[in-house]
């Protein structure tokens, strides 16, 4: 059947640098791609998981490109633009889309990223509000926590500073306790780090550590302090403990981008940064778990900040 419609068919390969299940950002990537493909008869979609060995990603993407059958390869993660650029050298006719990454001036690569600094500022502002609030689990000390899976450029240059800046917008005296787990899976070590932070007086933590997030939530729940969530709606993780969540609409963004690619209108070579105003980054205010657990005063202040940023 492949050969009957060579002219018409449009093949999309989704390369997931990791595994889909368990990672909200990749789940949204897959979902967005699936709904875009579902709209067109002639679009074939293939989702390929690359696994956790970073050393193999380039080779795996290359072998996708080598088939020569993929009209576009879409992937997501800040490391991928570099890898796609390298592959592009070997397969100059292959088109790539990289979500959540940034690379200018390669006329076969389109990148799209979210303004993570802004997103972190939103989380940071709420953290500032929480730590200085009268909420049950909050203490007098003005320290907020950020637990990362690893230290990587965007984390150090954008997220952590954004997070602190958001908090300082509440009270300039607020300090940041930043620690890295060292990997993206070890929940037990996540919990240990969280406990250490808690004993150092932190009362609200933003974990950006993949599977290790769960350990942070557990430790926070035990100690009765608060957790914020990044990238996807996380209130249900532990109602009452997770008191704030930003999200990015990677599914919609993927859908929009792919539709343009299928229609032939995607401007390859461009690098887009989506900010708050685009609507692809939000702070989730309309969740019942948010409204019921977070005092009105805090919510109002957060809403003002959110509107102000837009």
């Amino acid at each position: 059947s492949k050969q009957e419609e060579p002219q018409d068919s449009f093949n999309i390969a989704v390369f997931v640098p990791g595994v889909v299940s368990g990672s909200p950002i990749y789940e949204m990537l897959a979902a967005g791609a699936q709904s875009a493909a579902a709209e067109y008869e002639h679009v074939n979609l293939n989702i390929i998981e690359g696994g956790s060995n970073q050393g193999e990603w380039e080779e795996k993407i290359s072998s996708l490109a080598a088939t020569g059958k993929q009209d576009v390869i879409i992937t997501s993660n800040p490391a991928m633009p570099g890898i796609c650029a390298a592959v592009s050298k070997k397969f100059p006719s292959q088109y790539f889309i990289v979500m959540d990454g940034y690379l200018e001036d390669n006329d076969h690569i389109y990148t799209l990223r979210y303004d993570q600094e802004q997103q972190a500022m939103l989380n940071g502002h709420l953290a500032g509000l929480v730590t200085s609030s009268e909420m049950e689990g909050a203490n007098d000390q003005l320290t907020i926590g950020l637990i990362a899976g690893q230290e990587y450029p965007d984390m150090l240059d954008l997220i952590a500073p954004g997070f602190l800046a958001g908090a300082k917008a509440v009270d300039d005296a607020i300090e940041l306790d930043f620690r890295a787990v060292g990997n993206w899976y070890d929940a037990a070590k996540g919990a240990e780090l969280a406990r250490a932070m808690i004993s150092a007086g932190v009362d609200v933590i933003l974990p950006i550590a993949g599977g290790a997030n769960q350990g942070v939530v557990t430790a926070a729940h035990e100690a009765g302090i608060y957790v914020l969530w990044f990238d996807a709606n996380g209130y249900a993780q532990q109602p009452g403990t997770v008191v704030g969540s930003t999200s990015i609409q990677q599914d919609t963004a993927t859908y929009d981008t792919l539709v343009k690619a299928i229609e032939g209108t995607l401007p390859y070579g461009e690098a887009v940064t989506l900010g708050l105003e685009s609507g692809f980054i939000t702070f989730i205010e309309d969740d019942e778990l948010y409204t019921s657990y977070v005092p009105e005063k805090v919510r109002t202040a957060q809403n003002e900040y959110l509107e102000g940023l837009k």
Partner: protein
Amino acid sequence: MSRLLHSLYLIVLFIVIIFTILLLISPEPVMAFEDFVTGPFSNIYNTGNLFAIAAILIICGTGVSISFQAGLFNLGGEAQIYSSALVGTLVGLALPEGSGFFGILVVIIISMITGAAIATISGFLRYRYHIHELISSFLLSGGLLSLTDFLISNTFRDSKSFLQTTSKLPESFYLPSILPPSNLTITILIACTVACILWFWLYKMAGGYEMRVFGLNKDFAEFGNISSRRYTILPLMINGACFGLAGALMILSTQHAAIVGFSAGYGWNGIVIALIAANNPIMTIPAAFLLAWVETGTRTAMAGSSVSLEMSEVIRGMILLMITLRFFKNRRSRS
């Protein structure tokens, strides 16, 4: 007396080595050292966890000791724990919610059977087709780990959870706690019992005796008319059952659900324990405590932010190597 001196010397040596390593890699070596040494006992939570980790390690180490004593190499421990824990959990989930003690027993037995079955495949292949159990257990393990990952994160995934996990077992399946709020349950008692029983079997009963002889030199076993079928398959079966037990206990006492990758590393650590304990089930107890102490110690040192995660692994590796070296040298000079 000289024995005592020697032990003292060893302890001092350890301390110096650990401290030197920390000095090299930690920004705050004194604090890190303090965290490392006293951390595991600084609060009930840590101490309880140390015991909980040790319990699982004892069981894994004892199991591996058995197959090592039979001269068999089981490299498939990782999957034997993980897959059998999943199977046990699924059976537990299928049982009525208030199954309590009976439910716990069923989960344990099912997990043990699963673990034993997986390991037995390798034993059978070795006996029947002379395929080295080292290859078959390793390859089988690779496949099963992925399969289990797949099953947890797709087929049996709890759609309400953000984690890649099955649903949680009902509370009636939780093992009774010792030292709350730590993870310690009666696992430590079970573990010591298992180690003692297997020790007794190994050194005081005919089957264990035959198995050890078989392990010393398989080619010559014919002389004693030792059944090579029995002692190729049985040790792996016991080993697998131990891993299954370890998996079930981790589920029943700590995790309460099969989470992706939750048992990673225990299969390998079982080998390490067995090696340190020179394949003596009773000796796995101190060996496991040592490892658990190093484990919790590096964790608390890390949580105190004085050491990074990988570095803590390095320290762990170094300490293990030192222990093994000293231990073996010591043992050798005695014999």
